[in-house]
Point group: C2
Chain length 339, copies 2
Amino acid sequence: MATLSEVARLAGVTTATVSNVLRNTQKVKPATVQKVQEAIAATGYRPNLMARALAEGKSSMVALVLPDINNPFYPEFVRVAERVARHRNYFLMVCNTDERPDIGLAYLHQIAGTLADGVLVLHAGISADDIHALKTRRSPIVLASEEQVDLANHIPHVVVNFHRAGQIAGQHLLDLGHRRMGAIVGCGLEGMQIARLDGFVSALSAADLTLHEALVRNVRDTVAGGHEATDSLLEQHPDITAIFCTNDLMAYGACQALADRGIRIPQDISVIGITDIQLARDMRPALTTVALGIEQVATISINLLLDLIENPQHEPTIVPVPDPVLVVRASTAPVRGSI
Amino acid sequence: MATLSEVARLAGVTTATVSNVLRNTQKVKPATVQKVQEAIAATGYRPNLMARALAEGKSSMVALVLPDINNPFYPEFVRVAERVARHRNYFLMVCNTDERPDIGLAYLHQIAGTLADGVLVLHAGISADDIHALKTRRSPIVLASEEQVDLANHIPHVVVNFHRAGQIAGQHLLDLGHRRMGAIVGCGLEGMQIARLDGFVSALSAADLTLHEALVRNVRDTVAGGHEATDSLLEQHPDITAIFCTNDLMAYGACQALADRGIRIPQDISVIGITDIQLARDMRPALTTVALGIEQVATISINLLLDLIENPQHEPTIVPVPDPVLVVRASTAPVRGSI
DNA sequence: TTGAAAGCGCTAACAT
DNA sequence: ATGTTAGCGCTTTCAA
């Protein structure tokens, strides 16, 4: 691969001139530009981004650390983050942690401020303390899609009202007349899922209902998890009329389990999820869910990171996203005998 | 962020010594190692990977260029590629092209040999000629999961027998007694999907059947595409007893369309896909499909790329993966009235 | 065992 | 408008 100086020699100019042509600072005489461009074409020269990054003190690369690229939420996030990054002239490096916070932390250690200009941490189970210990000045780390508004730690974060999402889901089921409901809660991603359950419970409380512990299942945040939890719920509480899942993937599993048993959705049992991933629209019956606005959250998160890179702030930056909204589809209906 | 020389100064040694400690070449006296490590800890030093890459002429980063991270095939591929890369001490940079070959090519132009030590191109619609024009010596580009065995272009590639996959699918339907079948073919990813259809057709030919053009639908490679194609097929050919889809995503859409019309799977119509993505296992009825062995293909592809980086070859390298295998699940059954 | 110094390929003052 | 030169932070001979 040709280097700048080879191009310069061929064009009969110095590296500074070639560099100026490349970044078209309008400082070069058209005739020279011409010569240089011919030399570039002749050599097939392409700038070494590593060298440029070192010289500029900026790699134009950002990393996105996430727990499981196979969970369809994340690709949806990645797609918009990558697009926004590309439009702002950044490369996006996706770091999958296989749900292991230690791997996520290792990524941060290696990359933050040394390979990437900034890092977006998405549910990777990395503690604020660990991030603080890194103290990467001038290389921001943003927590995307968090529940906790913690002003004490000075880490910028994008806040989603998961509690409200759970509450909306609960309210919707209540409005349909449901009283005996099961809840399936994903474990693994810390507070996020608990907040959703709390929100759900708070909706019930407001209607003077309590959710018995026996009606809650904690499972892995997968289709299989939702399936198993539903089986368990159904065996012990065959009288439930609705199931609340803290995300759509588990709701999909729940629907499956129901289908396997010949239980009709929503006639016999209603199912509601949270997030509104593509699958929620695609499945049959289409899933009623509480949309978190993936596209918005991703856009806001990546833009915040890039803004902080280009324009460092000293105060903690907390950016809220709009509240979740209920999306009624075909998996919920009034309870049997009601209305 | 502290630099090597700051650490060196604090430890009272030179940068060369610190560098040796960091990469523990056993050339440093234990006592000095001790001092240096204390200085490292005290400063919170982490090596600047850009600078290291420039000095070493190796970034330890590889890129994976793919068309659509939202198509569930790709995350499954990414997950294993990332894991293998990580174990071999490489970072994986995922480049989503939004199905635009020009974006893929732009990525290659920018990254290949200048930021990444090598690039894995996965169905991104980039021509061999374009790749050749790049002539990135000492920085391999590998085409992953290709159908064409083209020894003429010297680009290494991993070859999947898509033709065979289509044939297996066709044979399976024939074995079940189906004769009137529709075919749904994804467009966009070039030869890959055509080869699958060709394989399907060849299976029919071997049984003295032809597939009329009117029974083939070309659509976008999505759930919605499969859905629409199925609607169209059903309207014009309500007598078909089976649908072959060139991938699982469209097969999912087909099943949906059938469900929407109250057509039972597989009692009324059988559906078969290709690939065996996670969704094929998760959906109900579970999808009969021809497994391409995503994990194997990904492992072989990324390993080939890394091998070529570490050990350049001059001959074209063509690596085949094991043949596809039929996975019978619940979406196919003997044709009504047969047996 | 450690230090000195050159250089990876580029950018960016500063001169001319 | 172009050239000169000094780094960016690291690795890596070669000396000491």
